[in-house]
């Protein structure tokens, strides 16, 4: 059976250590495997490692799966793991940061390794799910011992090929045109899927992509735009599979600067103003009109699908224009103020429309938002550089799938690598204190407590103005039986087709 699949992005490389970006990792995750993997329920399960144990807080032992073969027939051994560790952790590799907590990896025997950590680290397994193992011998044979170095015109051998242990093999690849995967008959795991071939085509234009699905040229598109969901569902032989996505959309704010551009004060530093903005936003209206019900208004920046989610905290301040006006008045902004607002164009579902709608809603309480739309590449450059005062952002906690990723990147006061996506933003000493502990605490109960505390603080102080959790709306032929995980990964080994 052939599954024809289209999505707006393109796989950036067949080299699993060359790009740390979810779409690519999601697709080539069908070719390569890590020591562990996420299952249907987004729980960690053994993959190339059969089992593991902690010898001490900072020393882990992994028992590797026996009898696993790479696509080229080479056996999978501890040498491959060590090779992959050195390769992905080498300077210049995007994965160097991910493997940074590991001090060294030692081969115990062909199918056992020991890992020494630099410090206690609670999310090692989560991270390992996105670190794929390569065949040492193959990589050496094609001269790709290092992830591609962009500054020199060398390497590049893995643009169109790749050898892993996963359920699918790379059959052919023309970048930006077509990539074909075929099923790996010798896969170590029990084959649940019945797909022989996957043909992936990138189609950037939304309308064209939907047209391709509707015309039957492709069987499956990830991310059917919300406006086309109804049409796809109404088309016979087509279906939409819907699931909540881990990503929460919110407005981030400059809460540190003394003044905002064009003002002689910084209203956003005042929690009452932040709350006023929050309450001025008609999130249900956005959900209905713009998201067409494909969203869930959220109050904390954690999707229910993540571990340690605390439903009791997920309660929004109500939409209330009057309350909002009252808050503004109380804060001394009865006449409102002008607010520079920056949004990415095309990074999140209907980002532009949501921002526009927000401008209208803020206008009703007297805040004149001046909206600028940015191409994502510019947005992603300027935002961390602290150039924006009020901006839209979304965060999912990928690929760690843990609150720690969210908190450390977007809650922590910006210091070095912590709080990188919270420039000039929310700052709370208690949060800063708890963050490293959340990263190292192995005990589940204690983690739950700390995470809940941080989430509550952040919610009550309106660290961000939360909007909603996006839904995944995958459009497909009703012959396809897919699973739609909240992390948006396409795990084809669970798919079947009629």
């Amino acid at each position: 059976k052939t599954l024809r699949f289209a999505e707006s992005q393109e796989i950036s490389s067949m080299d699993p250590h060359a790009a740390r970006e979810d779409f690519t990792l999601s697709l080539i995750g069908n070719v390569y495997e890590g020591l562990v993997r996420w299952n249907k329920e987004l729980k960690i399960e053994p993959a190339l490692a059969e089992s593991w144990e902690t010898l001490s807080d900072t020393k882990w032992r992994f028992h590797l799966r026996k009898g696993v073969e790479f696509h080229n027939g080479n056996p999978f051994t501890a040498d491959d793991v060590i090779f992959s560790f050195e390769r992905a952790g080498s300077p210049g590799s995007p994965f160097a940061g991910l493997l940074e907590p590991i001090a060294e990896v030692v081969k115990v025997d062909d199918h056992t390794i020991d890992m020494t950590l630099k410090r206690k680290y609670a999310l090692l397994l989560n991270d390992f799910a996105g670190w794929y193992i390569l065949d040492k011998e193959f990589q050496e044979s094609i001269g790709a011992q290092k992830p591609l170095d962009l500054s020199t015109n060398t390497g590049g051998a893995m643009i169109t090929q790749g050898i892993g242990t996963g359920p699918f093999k790379v059959a052919s690849r023309e970048p930006d045109v077509k990539t074909v995967f075929v099923a790996n008959d010798k896969w170590w795991d029990k084959r649940e899927h019945n797909i022989d071939e996957i043909v992936y085509t990138p189609i950037a234009n939304n309308a064209t992509r939907v047209a391709a699905l509707l015309s039957g040229e492709v069987d499956f598109i990830r991310n059917a735009p919300p406006q086309d969901v109804a049409r796809i569902e109404a088309t016979s032989g087509m279906q939409i599979m819907r699931a909540p996505h881990l990503r929460n959309i919110f407005y981030g704010m400059d809460q540190q600067s003394k003044t905002l551009p064009g003002l002689d004060s910084n209203p956003l530093a005042d929690v009452r103003v932040r709350k006023a903005i929050y309450q001025a936003i008609d999130i249900e209206g956005i959900k209905r009109s713009i998201m067409r019900d494909n969203s869930r208004p959220s109050a904390i920046m954690m999707a229910p699908q993540l571990p340690f989610y605390d439903a009791s905290l997920d309660v929004r301040f109500p939409y209330d224009v009057e309350a909002s006006k009252a808050l503004l008045k109380e804060a001394g902004y009865a006449d409102g103020f002008t607010l520079p607002m920056d949004c990415p164009a095309g990074s999140f579902i209907n980002d532009e429309q949501i921002c526009q709608a927000t401008v209208g809603m803020l206008a009703k309480v007297g805040i004149k938002a001046q909206l600028t739309m940015h191409p994502p590449v510019q947005f992603d450059t300027e935002l961390p550089a602290g150039k924006y005062s009020f901006y839209m952002l979304g965060w999912a906690g990928l690929p760690t799938l843990d609150a720690y990723n969210i908190i450390s990147a977007t809650f922590h006061t910006p210091t070095g690598d912590l709080g990188a996506w919270n420039p000039k933003g929310y700052s709370n000493a208690r949060v800063d204190e708890l963050t490293p502990q959340i990263g190292t605490e192995y005990d589940a109960e204690k983690r739950q407590e700390m995470i809940s505390e941080v989430m509550k603080l952040h919610r009550d102080e309106v660290g961000k103005i939360m909007l909603h959790q996006q839904f995944l709306t995958w459009g497909m032929s009703d012959k396809v039986h897919a699973i739609v995980p909240a992390d948006e990964y396409t795990r084809f080994w669970y798919y079947t087709m009629d």
Binding site: A211, Q227, P261, Q356
Partner: protein, 307 residues
């Protein structure tokens, strides 16, 4: 005053007016054009809503179909878009932006092109060479590339809060810069012919200054084809703005042009909310078509070589 009346009368009797009266399609196009321009110019007076005032929008009114379709509301004759803006009003306002951008861009490129063309044609020599090579280089940058460039530069150079307001000028600049070459070439060619004419020599013998010769003598005699080019260029400029919008480089959503509206509507082509893209699209095609028909006719009528 009576002078004006006389002139108007003279115009009424002129060949141009006669040929105009005898070309029904052109009359039709001109009427359409006048109506469209009027709707655009008087948008804030005749549009039932003001889509540029965000405070008046209600998201609960979003995506209403045209009034004559089930679910439509008579408040919104042609329906509403995703933000709850009245399509009809948005078209009026958008047309105003499109026409303004078009006219300003053409005026910009015309001014630059005419000035450079005059200088190149009159002075000749290395000045001419430099200007014309500049034109060649300019031509090897497609309009869209130039737009990307100017857009990129503007985003950095402008203070953050100003960017969206300056967008209007950026778009004009991007379209205008790309188009000066054809004006320059036309004017240069005409200037090279005119400057050899004896009336210029006569003026020089009478010790008239070079600047005055250029502006008072040569310019009026080269402007005819320029005006025709400008009319036709207007259509192109409006379309270019629409294409830039499609690529995300046009007018911002807060000041939508017809192009911006179509781009937004483009994503809704499949979803059944056809009115959001169809009406602005039809308005755009109608506008450009009318401009082109009139421009085309002017070109045929004013071309001395065809008479």
């Amino acid at each position: 005053m009576s002078q004006l009346v006389l002139r108007l009368k003279a115009f009424g009797n002129s060949e141009l007016a006669w040929r105009f009266r005898n070309s029904p399609p052109v009359i039709f196009a001109a009427v359409v054009l006048i109506v469209l321009v009027f709707c655009a110019a008087a948008a804030n007076l005749i549009a039932p809503h003001n889509p540029f005032d965000p405070a008046t929008l209600n998201i609960m009114d979003a995506r209403l179909p045209p009034a004559w379709i089930d679910g439509g509301s008579s408040t919104y004759l042609l329906g509403t878009d995703e933000q709850g803006r009245d399509i009809l009003s948005t078209i009026f306002y958008g047309m105003r932006v499109s026409i303004l951008v078009g006219i300003a861009a053409v005026a910009f490129s015309m001014t630059i092109g005419v000035a450079l063309g005059l200088i190149a044609g009159y002075l000749g020599g290395w000045v001419d060479t430099v200007i014309m090579r500049l034109g060649d280089i300019q031509l090897s940058f497609p309009t869209i590339m130039i737009a990307f460039f100017i857009d990129g530069v503007a985003k950095i150079v402008m203070p953050i809060g100003m960017r969206e307001e300056m967008r209007f000028y950026v778009v004009i600049l991007a379209i205008g810069v790309a188009d000066w070459v054809q004006f320059a070439r036309t004017v240069r060619a005409a200037t090279m012919i005119e400057r050899r004419k004896d009336y210029v020599a006569a003026a020089r013998i009478s010790e008239v200054s070079g600047v005055r010769i250029l502006l008072a003598h040569i310019l009026p005699n080269t402007i005819g084809p320029v005006l025709v080019l400008a009319t036709l260029g207007l259509g192109v400029a409006i379309l270019t703005e629409a294409i830039l919008s499609f690529l995300g480089l046009g007018m911002p959503p807060s000041q939508p042009s017809l192009g911006t509206l179509i781009r937004a509507g483009n994503d809704l082509l499949l979803s059944g909310e056809w009115w959001i893209s169809l009406f602005p699209g039809a308005a755009l095609v109608l506008l450009v078509l009318a401009v082109n028909i009139v421009g085309d006719w002017l070109r045929d009528v004013l071309n001395p070589r065809l008479r």
